[in-house]
């Protein structure tokens, strides 16, 4: 762009931006005015809806004609207002649409309910009442929905209004900022660019003037300065074309000198290196085609030394060289030279030479052949190295290796060679390959785990552990369960030790196959162990007796039952140790012994006997004695016996128990009945007969169903079914029996099933007629009380809700009034506004308190409550008040109770809050919460050092709305302590205060451990 055009743009741009700002401002103001209108309309809607709410409640309570007319009147106004609302914002429009639809439905529900009122007197009954209740609920749901939506709409429009203001302000600010930025961003770069270009132009001209013809100004802008710069650069280039350079020659001379110096130094190093490596250089010129042996050969000093000459001590020719080549290998060397020339490949050969002193050496030669322009070989340059020492070492290793391999493979045991670091298999002998069935290559690629049975203890990890120990110098010998390639498992004995092989540290594992031996040992051990275990763990005592009655075997159980050690019994005669007397103490001759009869008569004998312990006591046993045959001949007897003391005792107890039951059954003061599974009486005791007026014989003709009240029978039958099916062990039921005279008696029946060979049902019958009468009376009274309480709560709840609605209206309008007119009227008006706002706030607090009070009995269900946590919650809520008062609130460790955590926290909050509020002037308020156990529960105390309470008011302070101080002195609603009392009572506890004026107060409340 030309410079004059830029200057014009810089003048017109700010003017255009200013016009744009004015345009946007006008548009924003228009938007704000619309938002203001919508906000006012939404407020009117909210106001009308509040009135409709009140009328709805009023009508639902009193059903008055006047209330109905008013309802329709307010409704029509509200519907018209909602119909007029035309909002462009989709969110607000959606809310309005919802309001309209709910309003429409409200009207039809209200009308339908009025129709229902008309039918009420015509005996439509319970169904109509339910229907009216449903309509009332639906009406209230929609009324609340519309109220909520109206409030939402009001807030949305208010928020839009605020956004419109903020948007206008932001836009103006942004445009102003943009204007400044645009001006700066055009003017500043233009000025800077101009001054920079001119400076560059001046500096360039100065340099060129001093003779620097390589310099270019290089300004490429499309304005006047760019054109001037291009003209300067063209002129400088023309001048430059006539000038030459002169310094290049001197630079080349210096470079070559440096190269020569480097070459000399490199040559000296090479010579030294050759001597150290016994490496010499040679070259030969192929000048004599007729006699190649006469071709001149040139050796470095080291080549002379390798062949046994002093450097330069002889004239070398090809013939001389071949004279030193070992006669057996001359043909090889010549052939290598000929091949290299023919194939034009590098010459390389390893051969022996004979030195001047006659000794043999090994040399390695490499050479390159260079060919002339006609393709003939012109020159050959090579190197020769003495490798005698290396060759000798290789030969020694080869011999050693072959010997070792022969020994290695001839071993009958498998041998593994492992890497000492990784445990990897490096080599194995032929026996290993046969034993494991792998090829040599395969076995090198497997680990020890593949060669082992995959069971615990034979893992790669265990193998590595053994390898590690051996590697540490600790030889290992152990048995291992191996597996070959085909999957066959077999036992081996592994001997593992560290060894140095071929100069390397290795681990050598010698594996000996012990499978057969191992399997034989194992089979024998298993059979022996099994037999031993069977005898040892038999529940019965077992003896082996020979033909003389001497003990030849005794198991642990037999010895234990008799109180002997096994060793004490072996070889003894049974009739001298444990079978020598009858139960009455008389001697037991062996001739009468039924145990001996087994081997005497060759028959199995069994029965009950008395055995005698070592300590002289006896016990009854149940025994079996069998003859013991060896090769078809009786060699003794096996006696198996069992202690039957417990069985004998149980039999005695059963007899006694039956006797006791019979007496109890006949003499019991409560009824007992026994019924077969069909419900027929098997028997009934005297008490039952007296209760029902039947004799036992008469009862046996009846079923329990025939004497049970039909209403109660339906309840009992499912229980009986569950009992008979075994799903219930027993059941209890309270029911009515009908006596012989038809009178009802209340009884508590506890029934269970006797699972004998012929099962029957047995029941205990308790006469509870008197108790039942008392309960019915109590239930009636409690019901009355609950209903009365519920009605009161419901009243408080609904009243608080209803109070909230007009109050929200008053609050909205008063706050609107305060926002618009505060400061615009006189001081008095400001004061009145303050009173109104303050009054509304207090009223809201009062209603909130009342709502909380009425909701106490609707609280959450009881659960475990950590009172430390409840205290923490309360303190968190009081944080600001506590901080402002500088109060110190402390607590002991508090217990866990069963209750409603939120409500208990509320109790702490109210009591601690009061303690902080009613503090003494000039003294740091101190509050301490403690707990102690009391009968069946806990006592919690909140003690303070505040102003205290006169004991005469100790009861009054817990009544709702009762205050001891003026609101100006101590603000509050008079609900806090009554709320505490209600909560504590809901928990089954009590609350009281101990205090004196000026000496602080201690509020104590109790919470029972278990709820009543």
């Amino acid at each position: 762009m030309r410079i004059d055009t830029k200057l014009q743009v810089n003048i017109f741009l700010p003017i255009a931006i200013t016009l744009l700002i004015l345009l946007i401002l006008a548009s924003a103001m228009a938007g704000r005015a619309e938002a203001d209108r919508n906000n006012a309309a939404a407020l009117s809607l909210l106001s009308e809806m509040t009135q409709l709410n009140q009328r709805t409640y009023y009508y639902l309570l009193y059903h008055e004609e006047r209330a109905r007319r008013e309802w329709f009147s307010i409704y029509d106004a509200l519907a018209a207002l909602a119909g007029r609302l035309d909002l462009s914002d989709p969110e607000q429009a959606a809310v309005v649409e919802r309001i309209r639809r709910n309003l429409g439905e409200m009207r039809s529900i209200f009308a339908e309910r009025i129709v229902g009122e008309g039918q009420a007197g015509r005996g439509s009954g319970q169904l109509l009442k339910e229907r009216q209740d449903r309509l009332s609920s639906q009406l209230l749901i929609r009324a609340r929905s519309v109220t909520g939506d109206a409030y939402h709409l009001y807030e949305l429009s208010a928020s839009k209004l605020r956004r419109a203001d903020a948007k206008a302000n932001t836009l103006i600010l942004l445009l102003l900022l943009a204007s400044v930025l645009v001006t700066l961003s055009t003017l500043f770069p233009m000025n800077r660019k101009l001054s920079s270009s001119i400076s560059r132009l001046a500096a360039g001209a100065s340099l060129i003037g001093k003779g620097n013809l390589d310099h270019r100004i290089g300004i490429s802008t499309d304005d006047e300065i760019g054109e001037l710069s291009a003209a300067f650069d063209r002129m400088t280039a023309s001048l430059k074309a006539t000038t030459v350079s002169r310094d290049e020659l001197a630079a080349e001379v210096t470079r070559r000198k440096r190269v020569e110096e480097a070459l000399r130094s490199s040559e000296a190093i090479l010579k030294q290196a050759g001597q150290m490596a016994r490496l010499g250089a040679w070259h030969i010129e192929f000048v004599n085609e007729l006699d190649p042996d006469r071709n001149p050969l040139h050796w470095s000093d080291e080549v002379y030394r390798i062949f046994g000459y002093e450097p330069g001590g002889v004239t070398v020719t090809n013939a001389l060289f071949f004279g030193h080549v070992h006669p057996d290998e001359r043909a090889l060397v010549r052939s290598a030279v000929a091949e290299a020339i023919a194939k034009r490949v590098p010459y390389s050969v390893e051969h022996r030479i004979v030195r001047t002193d006659g000794s043999e050496r090994f040399v390695l030669e490499h050479a390159e052949i260079f060919f002339g322009p006609e393709g003939r070989p012109a020159r050959m340059i090579g190197a020769v190295q003495d490798i005698t020492e290396r060759k000798r070492a290789e030969q020694a290793v080869r011999i050693s290796e072959e010997s070792y391999r022969a020994v290695f493979n001839s071993s009958n045991d498998a041998i593994f060679i492992h890497d000492i670091e990784t445990g990897r298999i490096l080599d194995v002998n032929d026996t290993t390959l046969r034993l494991y069935g792998y090829t040599r290559d395969e076995i090198r690629s497997v680990n020890v785990e593949r060669l082992s049975e995959p069971v615990s203890g034979f893992t790669q990890q265990a193998a590595l552990e053994a390898l590690r120990k051996a590697a540490a110098g600790e030889p290992q010998i152990f048995e291992w369960l191996a597996r070959n390639k085909a999957g066959r498992t077999f036992w081996v004995e592994v001997s593992l030790k560290r060894a140095t092989l071929g100069g390397n540290d290795r681990l050598l594992a010698v594996v000996h196959d012990i499978d057969e031996r191992k399997r034989n040992d194992e089979a024998f051990r298993r059979v022996s162990q099994q037999n031993e275990l069977i005898l040892e763990h038999a529940g019965e005592g077992i003896f082996g007796l020979d033909l003389k009655g001497m003990v030849t075997f005794v198991n642990a159980r037999a010895a234990h039952l008799l109180g002997y050690h096994r060793g004490e019994l072996m070889g003894t005669h049974s009739h001298t140790t444990w079978h020598y007397r009858h139960a009455d103490g008389s001697a037991y001759p062996p001739a009468d012994c039924p145990i001996y009869a087994a081997y005497k008569e060759g028959a199995v004998r069994s029965g009950e006997e008395i055995f005698w312990r070592k300590d002289g006591t006896s016990f009854p046993v149940d025994f079996t004695s069998r003859p013991l045959y060896v090769s078809g001949r009786i060699t003794g007897a096996v006696v198996i016996y069992r202690d039957i003391t417990e069985r004998k005792r149980a039999e005695t107890e059963l007899r006694e128990s039956e006797e006791r039951f019979r007496v109890m059954y006949e003499q019991a003061a409560i009824g007992i009945e026994m019924l077969d599974l069909g419900g027929r009486y098997l028997s009934g005791n005297g008490a039952l007969g007296a209760l029902l007026g039947y004799s036992e014989e008469e009862l046996q003709q009846l079923t329990f169903a025939s004497v049970t009240d039909p209403d109660d029978l339906a309840r009992e039958l499912p229980l009986i079914r569950e009992l008979l099916e075994g799903r219930l062990p027993s059941y209890s039921i309270e029911k009515r029996y009908r006596t012989r005279t038809g009178a009802a008696v209340w009884v508590r029946v506890t029934s269970s099933l006797a699972r004998t060979s012929r099962p029957y049902r047995i029941s205990i019958i308790e006469d509870i007629t008197e108790r039942k009468r008392g309960e019915q009376e109590l239930t009636r009274l409690v019901g009355e009380l609950e209903r009365s309480n519920k009605e009161l709560e419901q009243f408080a709840y609904v009243a608080s809700h209803d109070l909230q609605e007009p109050l929200r209206m008053v609050a909205s309008y008063v706050q609107l009034f305060e926002r618009k007119y505060k400061g615009s009227l006189d001081d008095k008006a400001d004061k009145y506004i303050f009173f109104a706002v303050d009054g509304v706030k207090r009223m809201q607090k009062l209603i909130d308190g009342l709502l909380a009070y009425s909701r106490v009995s609707r609280g959450a269900s009881f659960g475990p409550v950590d009172m430390n946590r409840a205290f923490g919650q309360a303190l968190a809520n009081l944080m600001i008040a506590v901080r402002e008062a500088g109060a110190v609130v402390t607590r002991d460790e508090l217990p866990r109770v069963t209750g409603d955590e939120t409500q208990l926290a509320q109790v702490f909050q109210n009591l601690i809050g009061n303690a902080v509020k009613f503090r003494k002037r000039g003294e740091t308020p101190r509050v301490h919460v403690s707990a102690r156990r009391a009968d069946g529960g806990w006592l919690f105390s909140v003690a303070d050092n505040g102003i205290g309470i006169d004991p005469q008011y100790a009861q009054r302070i817990f009544q709702i709305f009762q205050r001891l101080h003026s609101r100006e002195e101590y603000p509050g609603t008079g609900i806090g302590l009554s709320l505490c009392k209600r909560i504590v009572e809901r928990h089954g506890g009590d609350i009281w205060v101990e205090s004196e004026p000026g000496r602080g107060a201690t509020f104590t409340f109790s919470i029972p451990e278990r709820m009543p």
């Binding site: 969110e91 609920s137 609340r144 909520g148 490429s220 909130d848 959450a860």
Partner: protein
């Protein structure tokens, strides 16, 4: 030339930095890993704001990686949430009421939608049913303890029929068509999309009834513990749903299309029904009155002599209050 190139590079870098900052402002969680959560949703079109939030990426914008677990009923969705497999669930007011009566540890964070035409009674003409009053003495299938049952109760009440005068058959939505075709029931009480599908499948064999005496509310609930453990995630989900709500108001046709795809409702059917839903996130006293009203019904049929709980314990307003303060009309919801 070099200087000019440097200026261009600097300008590009500055533009990139501004762009990144803008993205960061738009997606405050962009730099962090997204919070993964599951929402158990019923196929019911009332869940449209959740479908739209998912389809339009509003959850992602709020730094949430939400996965929707679809269920046939809100009751089933609640079951999934209670098993700990989801952090949110959509359920109807009746299911919320039963949860309150049973003391389940859940809290409602917002009402999503309301509808009076959501439920239908679909009856077989072959059973001699031509008017609502003809249902007396019939077998009617309905999922127990759902809005369907409460709707049926109301429907019958307004036709002078006691609940005891019909035989109720506990029937899940997916079993209804077979039960009607096999004659196991004479009628069913169903809701969309099942109601629409039944009408289409049975064509002239069926007759459909509805009335507007029950305003059903559709709600989003969370496990009670979430309100203390992670209230931020509730705010984020509600913020995403509010964006979805705005989208639905501005582009209703696109919202219908998305909801049709997610709920499996025929687009034409859904388009016809769309106006009967009153979408809008809010939490007000109308829900409390609704729950208490239904609880009185439940006490009569399911919980004899049981006290009605304080349902404010089952509401949680702080989430929605943070997103849209004036949408919350309750003030003293309690910790249960």
């Amino acid at each position: 030339m070099l200087k000019r190139r440097r200026i261009i590079v600097l300008a590009i870098l500055a533009a990139l930095a501004i762009g990144l900052a803008a993205v960061q402002l738009r997606h405050p969680d962009g730099g962090q890993e997204r919070r993964a959560l599951a929402i158990a949703v019923s196929f019911d079109p009332s869940s449209a704001p959740i479908f739209v939030a998912d389809a339009k990426g509003f959850f992602r914008d709020e730094g949430i990686n939400a996965s929707l677990l679809m269920h046939m009923t809100g009751k089933a969705a609640l079951g999934t949430m209670l098993k700990g497999k989801a952090q949110f669930a959509t359920i109807a007011d009746t299911v919320l009421m039963f949860a309150g009566m049973d003391g389940l540890p859940i809290r409602c964070v917002t009402v999503i939608a309301e509808s009076t035409r959501h439920h239908r009674v679909i009856a077989l003409r072959s059973s001699g049913i031509v008017r609502g009053e003809d249902l007396r003495g019939k077998r009617i299938g309905v999922p127990a303890r759902t809005t369907g049952e409460f709707f049926l109760y109301t429907f019958l009440l307004f036709r002078g029929i006691r609940f005891s005068e019909v035989t109720l058959v506990d029937l899940q939505p997916e079993q209804m068509l077979a039960a009607l075709e096999q004659g196991r029931v004479d009628a069913v009480a169903a809701w969309n999309p099942t109601a629409g599908r039944l009408t289409q499948a049975l064509t002239a064999r069926a007759i459909e009834f509805s009335d507007e005496n029950y305003l059903m509310s559709w709600n989003l609930v969370v496990p009670g513990a979430l309100t203390t453990a992670d209230p931020a995630v509730i705010r984020k989900v509600l913020a995403a749903m509010r964006k979805a709500q705005r989208f639905m108001e501005q582009q209703p046709e696109a919202a219908v299309s998305i909801t049709s795809r997610y709920s499996g409702t025929e687009p034409d059917l859904l388009r016809r029904e769309w106006q009967s839903y009153r979408f809008g996130l809010r939490l007000g006293e109308s829900l409390l009155i609704d729950l208490e009203d239904q609880a009185r019904w439940a006490v009569k049929f399911y919980y004899p002599r049981r006290a009605i709980p304080d349902f404010t314990c089952y509401l949680y307003g702080d989430g929605l209050r943070a997103v849209d303060p004036s949408a919350v009309g309750i003030r003293d919801e309690r910790v249960p």
